[in-house]
Subunit: 354 residues, 5 copies
């Protein structure tokens, strides 16, 4: 279960633009990789010193700088200086509790969103902040730990397959966004399976753990929603964005990611509706079981209380109780008891209590 | 019950525009039929090789190409190339989990929506994705399985009755949309009947299956809503759309379909309101029955506990219990017991517990 | 209780503009009446053959054609042809399941709305579709059965009292709308009385029929809302409508009807809030009664179980039970029993259970 | 408790602009007072005949005509004629069930809103309709009964203190609106006290009357909301209104009243949230008490049923029951009974049922 | 727990702009401090007489006047006169129950918002009104008690570190807003911890105090929301504000605070969702415990009632009861009793009631 809120308090009172890493340190070492390409050329390398990046700045080819790990503040600061990033942008990159947003700084666009990952071991959704800087001929991506959903894109760049090598930095940004959003569908599939499983359990044998699971699903949906909902605005803004950075040909692709985002949101809402419907079902099945228990109790009490009373009557020690002397008194009383018990059973059957 | 979400994960990581069929394979063979007509001429034929379609592309008459089955990706790809369809459009056609939408690609409009069908055998709503491409003089429709609601339109084209042969591809598109939306009313009628039946059941004899049915109806409504709600925007957009593809005369008809869509949405909302009202009724009827059961139990206990106590008293074996020796002790005790029991019954009658 | 949805399925697949009457046949004969007037002249007559209407078409005076009964499709078709009505308008007039709407066809406006009537015998709200065609100098009104709320307007036209004879067809339309909306207030008064009555019942003596009534009221509110809510848009659109058909002087009157509509909607929302508040009260009063019942049961059990146990003890047949031999054993045991019972009663009084 | 809806049915069918007083007759006599002032002059008088008002019409000084009582329709009609008020305005003034609204008739503005008063005796909120006519140099105010919140304004006019004598009719209107809205805060304070009192009661000792009070508060909030919510639009419209009637300098003051209105609405919403939270608390405290009762019952039954059973065993009359003959049988059985009872008590203590 | 509403009634009826301090008097003495700075110079001093401030008015350097304590109305009045503040602004500054808002008076902007403080001792959120006046070269801030979150800003001004000394009064205003909003995150962290703690408690051992805490959290959320929600509009308005007072370079910083505000609102909504989910969990866990109790009761009753009945049978005193005479009657009856009891236990185990 992710923390509800990150320790942001250590930043309170600092000047704006002061760079402090907020969030867990998820990786050991900061890792920088560069891919530089155009239609004809392609170069990929890992980088040790951040200064190597600066060489790529003024080259006309598309450069993708990917940075894994955010805890070495000074490196990010240097990069920011070289590429002319606003201190507030750097601050937001380091503060890993951002709401997805897109900001236009004229020279470049700053996009921040959340990359989700379904951890099969803990059956939990893991969330990581991804920041993207889209310049005229470069893209810089910042991630928390290593491991991401961008490998197919890297492969496509390396192979030069598809459109990606022929198009600019905006298309690369689109491809990254698309990979992240596509990944949301996998999360949704997992959740969908859980919901379907839960729904069956609810009908066949609901336990108090079912309630726990419903609650847990609800909570996961709240977090998912918080991560995805603002994305709509982000990608919509990008699609309608001003021309220099996002070209017309890329716009049609962005519309496609936008549609996917809407679909993700739609599905989350459907899931929410279903989960809250399940809570109703659970609660009324609890009530129903209470009813069943109470009916059993009432039947038992209603049958045996009169019988015990009659037995009690003939256990009294009055001197003059004529029935006690009768020859057939005992069998007659048995007959009476069976008759009373039997007619009550029939009565309850008729009332559908049995 | 339809799957909550389709296996989209196999697409994750692929380049945009990569054509993969997502969804069940609902038919054996891909079937292509062509109708080509204008006011004077009419031609209809089934087609084996997709290349035959290409002949109709530059003819001024209206051509309707209908394709049943989406699993043969390469055929759809060829058609797309011939008619100049954007790879993202083809991708969406094949991905049968689309949200209804309309996209303007300048040369043509791409419309995707859901055709619903009420399966009388399983009493379930079946859903199928229909994609429409509206060009200046052609309409291409893609469906998943065979069997649709377009037969009356085909008949009208064949007979040349009504307006349809005199008007262009936009009117044909309207006619297809109208047929699909009209069909929603049939679904709503079925649901309406179910709701009315359920409402009667709720009043006369609610069982725990009633709850199941309410839940099921709720779920069906969620899916219906998801299919219909975005349609409003789609048809509204079409109505207000730019002139070359949709002519002014057709616009008035589109407004009519738009009204129908609004009415469908309205009815779904009304149904939702009613179904959630029914859940309240069900829950409180469960509470009421619990009350009845508890009252019975309480009456029985309240009457017999004191009586049994009294009988117990005279079952004690004390040596000196004067009452036991009395000649009329036993009848007097009977009288006391009947009196106590009787006055309690009267008391409960007064309190309206009986 | 009105049907949830009308049998629209018989229309599915027909060409748009095909005229089929959907709805119950509520009257035997189709009845046509004409009122033709201007400031100076006035003429009123019942009509047998629809062709008689056509004479009034090109006269400058205001003509009001009122048609009761919609089942003779061919008559309505002829009228439509003469006055140049679009086939879709005729279709909508005949389909009595329309949502209130206003459509501008340039030459004329088409308005459809619902006339409500409170049936005192069945204490149900009856609903009827009214279609109005507003042309430059004529108004055509279509109703389902005979009997309407327009008689005071007819009277005003006949007497020439007030503004009505001096003004045009748009003012007549306003007057008809105003009569229909004013009638809604009568419905609301009836509902308001029911709610106040129910609220009192809820406090004094709620039964399970109360729940039924709450549910019934809720349902009536849903239908009322569905009929009135879209009216806001209709009349608002009319008020802001383009000048040739609606004149500036009439606009101020339309604003007044608009205000009334808002007030009706407001009142319905208030009623809805109150009715759902009543459901909460009902449910918690049911819980409260359960509590009362349980307390009675618990008090009885808590008092008599120990007493019966003690009586049971001295009913045992052990040979050596010294108490049984005591001279005052029996009175002492009575004292003990009364003491135990009494102190429990006091305890429960203190705990406010009694 | 105010009536849910006023008897408006007597108006149905009348021509628009027909003047009928709807509402209770709250005062005996219609009372007219006039204040006429500018920076230098001031005149105040009660008036017997309405015709006296007409003299003030064309004087450049600001004239405030205040009318208490609406039942003498003909007087209001005359006033309306003199000041050129539209018949629909007069109709609305007399119909005391108006929703707050502002209407611009060019020559004058018509504002209607509700003046609330907290009746300390009945602890109920009383509501009264106030209509204001703002002309270029006059304000006419219509109220139902005598007694209002305007006395401080009258005092300020008489004394010539503050801005009021230096400014025009629009400022006077602002002052009247401000007085009415300021008075809402007093109502809110009373409600706030009630809510705080109720909240304490809820925690310490909730009774079924608490529920009644919650319900009552909820109802009061519904009515309050209905009265205040549309005011936002009214005052907002006034603030943005066209210049001739409302001057720029007054606009800043209107913004202030607007803020107050927003604050009133905000507070009402907060109260609503709190009251519905209280209902939840109440309901779960009822459930909790049921739990307590049930636990007591279960403990009693669980302890005494086995004990009574054992006593019953040794009350059996079998000939050969060895225990009965034992010398220490009776004490042993007592020991067994006490042991069983005691261990159960310990068990329940451990389970926290006691 | 803060008062629901402040005693505003003492202001009702006063002329607008009348200065009355509404709210508790939170500090003894009114304290005024001045900071005057530009890039090169810096001056800071505490002030005794308000007249000293007036000297700074026409100096081109940025002047920040901070006033702690609002109860000395005349001092604030003098300051207002000197800086040309509108009487309504002064009124709002003194009335400490304002909703956050921003008002543009041309010459200066008036901003009012709430500074929150988490009191660790009482674990309550304390709220204080802060008013800011932003002029071309001055900022005036009004607070209720001493002690605020502005110390880091003061430090930065003193040290001349960062941007603050180089920029104008608008940047100072931004810095103050930023400090206040950053402080909200600390409040949210505290609430988040409470919620997480509560959630664990809910799962492991819910008591009726848990309910109280949920209710309390809900209430705190309502107040928090009321304080923060309107801030969005305030800061958004400031960001889009007209240029003379807010410069373009500052706008980018305001966008940053705006984002933070959105994030605070987002988090509050998430918390609200979670807390209301917790209420559901609590209620159903109460129902579950009721079920457990009822099951215990039913098992006990179902087992012992038949057994006691059988014991009662053989306690009857009939003369002719053959079983009583049997040699093995007593052991057989024990066997029967154990058998019945045992099979019931097995039955309940199978039904999962045990």
């Amino acid at each position: 279960m992710p923390k509800l809120i990150k320790q942001r308090s250590k930043k309170a009172g600092l000047a704006p633009g002061t760079l402090v890493h907020i969030g867990e340190k998820k990786t050991q070492e900061l890792k920088i990789t560069i891919m530089d390409y155009d239609d004809a050329h392609f170069q990929e390398k890992g980088i040790k010193a951040i200064e190597e990046c600066f060489l790529f700045k003024d080259i006309p080819t598309v450069t993708w700088i990917n940075i894994d790990g955010l805890h070495q503040v000074e490196i990010i600061e240097k990069l920011g200086e070289c590429y002319g990033l606003h201190p507030l942008v750097l601050e937001d990159i380091l503060n890993t509790d951002q709401r997805p947003k897109m900001e236009d700084y004229g020279e470049y666009l700053y996009i921040v969103l959340r990359m989700l990952n379904y951890n099969d071991k803990s059956s939990e959704i893991e969330s990581e902040q991804v920041s993207l800087i889209l310049g005229s001929n470069f893209v810089i991506s910042f991630q928390e730990p290593e491991g991401d959903v961008f490998d197919p894109i890297r492969e496509r760049i390396r192979n030069g397959k598809g459109r990606i090598r022929k198009m600019g930095a905006d298309y690369l940004t689109y491809a990254l966004l698309d990979a992240i959003v596509d990944n949301y569908f996998i999360i949704l599939e997992k959740l969908g399976e859980k919901i379907e499983f839960l729904e069956e359990e609810l009908v066949t044998r609901p336990t108090s753990e079912t309630l726990q699971t419903i609650h847990y699903l609800k909570r996961e949906m709240i977090f998912l929603r918080k991560a995805v909902w603002p994305l709509r605005e982000v990608i919509g803004g990008l699609e309608r964005g001003e021309p220099p950075l996002v070209k017309g040909t890329t716009r049609i692709y962005l519309r496609d990611v936008y549609d996917h985002t809407i679909q993700v949101i739609d599905t989350i809402e459907t899931f929410r509706d279903m989960v809250s419907g399940m809570l109703d079902i659970y609660l009324s099945s609890v009530s129903n079981r209470l009813n069943v228990v109470m009916r059993v109790l009432t039947i038992i009490a209603t049958i045996f209380m009169p019988l015990t009373f009659i037995a009690g009557i003939y256990g009294m020690n009055f001197k003059y109780m004529p029935e006690l002397e009768w020859r057939w008194g005992y069998p007659v009383i048995w007959f009476v008891l069976v008759f009373i018990g039997g007619s009550m059973l029939i009565y309850f059957k008729r009332k559908k209590w049995l």
